[in-house]
Amino acid sequence: MSILKVNALRSTADGQEILKGIDLEINPGEIHVIMGPNGAGKSTLANVLMGHPAHEVVSGEAIFGGKVLFDMKVDERAKAGLFLSFQYPQEVPGVTVDNFLRTSKKEISGIMPMLGAFKKDVKQHMEMLDMDQKYLERYLNLGFSGGEKKKNEILQMAVLSPKLAILDETDSGLDVDAIRVVYETVQKLATKDNAILVITHYNKILNYIKPDFVHILVDGKIVKSGDLSLATEVEEKGYEAFKKSTDVNGAA
């Protein structure tokens, strides 16, 4: 059974249509990459799936882990195993990373994590991400650099072990070293039981992560899906070529 199955999904924000019929199926053990130009709706797709209040689902459906995704509240989606690594993680003064991780883990797993095991787990992942342990006592994302915020997102992913993790432009704002550390960690977190959906508009991350599927999202639609070779095609031709193909489809 697939982890996520999206059918003809359309959405609006502020009355404007952004997603114009998305079909997507993600199975356990798969890594998907969605690429596309700025403004194509990539982040919108991530936000709609997670349940951002500014986006309205107009039609279509999504089944996540056998349940109707859009019937669930945001926290219920998280508890069902959906995770979103934010493009712009929020700063929350007064709430420490440690407290936040522990609270999330408790909510998602349904039980208070065992202190010793939890600490060990967190420490191990922080080492993997080349994060200083001191971050645990810092307020959530407050004053973090772009790279630190993104590492902190992946740390949460590692600790919460979701069924499906959506990474919304986690590479943006990262230097080369950080990109490597982050995506190598993501690759390590991939198992045969979970799945990862990476959203990006660069293909340089493909040096570190090996997707099973690549999708090109242009103007609210997935215009082409394929394997890794599709990313090479983007590199050579740019997105313009795919934009034209939408027009062709539109005309047809």
Partner: protein, 467 residues
Amino acid sequence: MEKKTYVADVDRGVYDIINTEDHRFVSDKGLTEDIIREISREKKEPEWMMNFRLESLEIYKKKPLPTWGADLSELDVENIVHYVRPNTDMQTSWDDVPEDIKNTFERLGIPEAERKSLAGVGAQYDSEVVYHSIRKELVDLGVIYTDMDTAIKEYEHLIKPYFMKLITNRDHKFSALHGAVWSGGSFVYVPEGVEVEFPLQSYFRLNAKGAGQFEHTLIIVEKNAKLHFIEGCSAPKYSVQNLHAGAVELFVKEGATLRYSTIENWSRNMYNLNTKRSVVEKNGKIEWVSGSFGSKVSMLYPMSILKGEGASSEFTGITFASKGQYLDTGTKVVHAASNTSSVINSKSISKDGGHAFYRGLLKVAKGAKNVKSMVNCESLMLDNRSKSDTVPIIDIQGDLVDIGHEAKIGRISDETIFYLMSRGISEAEAKAMIVRGFVEPITKELPLEYAVELNQLINLELEGTIG
């Protein structure tokens, strides 16, 4: 059943438990010379005190209501019972305190805190102090901690030069009222050079319906001495008005440090018109931690007068206004000498149509040089119905003054709630986390037990935020 939406309807738990009224003496409602004389007789006070009360009553009658701040037109002082003496004398052992009163303080966690982390405790019930104790080693060092009635009789020479000299009965209508009907409160005297390691705490509980509480707290911290004093207040909910018009006078001598922490947690029928002031001598320091919860109306502006060179003050305040509440709070600092410094950190939260108003005064007197001050006010509104205002008045007549001021008013952000919810945290808990985080700089200033209490109060206030 529909979930109750507003905090006013929420059971405030231990704070709302009402005891049967069992009094030894209750004054008539309202204010007359006869009532004042009777209160004074009942307390067996010296004559100067009775005369002071009568003078205050005359001033009270002539003073107009304040024309700024809260709307007090509905407050009916004539209908308030100004003096309620509980049916017990002051005890020094909890075992001798009547069962129901003792249980009240047990529920509020006072005896437990006393055992664990306090150097002394005073507990006031309605108009009189029912329990007072202090660790023996402090007594041996000359520290005095007792109720005001006892203090006036036993330490008249210490009280008379200070009592209502910092807050006078001419300052405003409610300081005059206080002068006329004050009762209870604590007196603390810390002799020169004595550092009191653990805090002292006085807790003021108003149980009687339609009554007023007018406790007077007088603290003198002598040269190079040190004290942390904690004040707690609460009352159960009634449908009639209650009035709290206490007075707190703090004298911080040369090189001394006093920290004064309060969590006021009144029921929604309370008019809280409290006056607190401190005067700080050379190189002395006053630190205020002030939490204002509950009440229908509050007007509270703890004041620091930095009188001696090098004196300093720190004010950390939190105000939480919910449905039907108007909380007008802030602080006043007067830099009356050179090289004085002050820090003001105020946080307010409003929800369900509540209105939190920050009103502050920062004054640098003529001739004061090298004055430093940092003012930081932040407000957080949890919905579109709630209101928040910030009016920091800065009046500078001195030279070489370095003042920083920052004010932020914001609404709780949907993006942040979404972010937290995406990690499995419910909407209610996400809001609570954001609010707790917002006040964290204040909770971390409090001793653990009080930080826990503050967080519990915030949770209580937040209950029902999701309609």
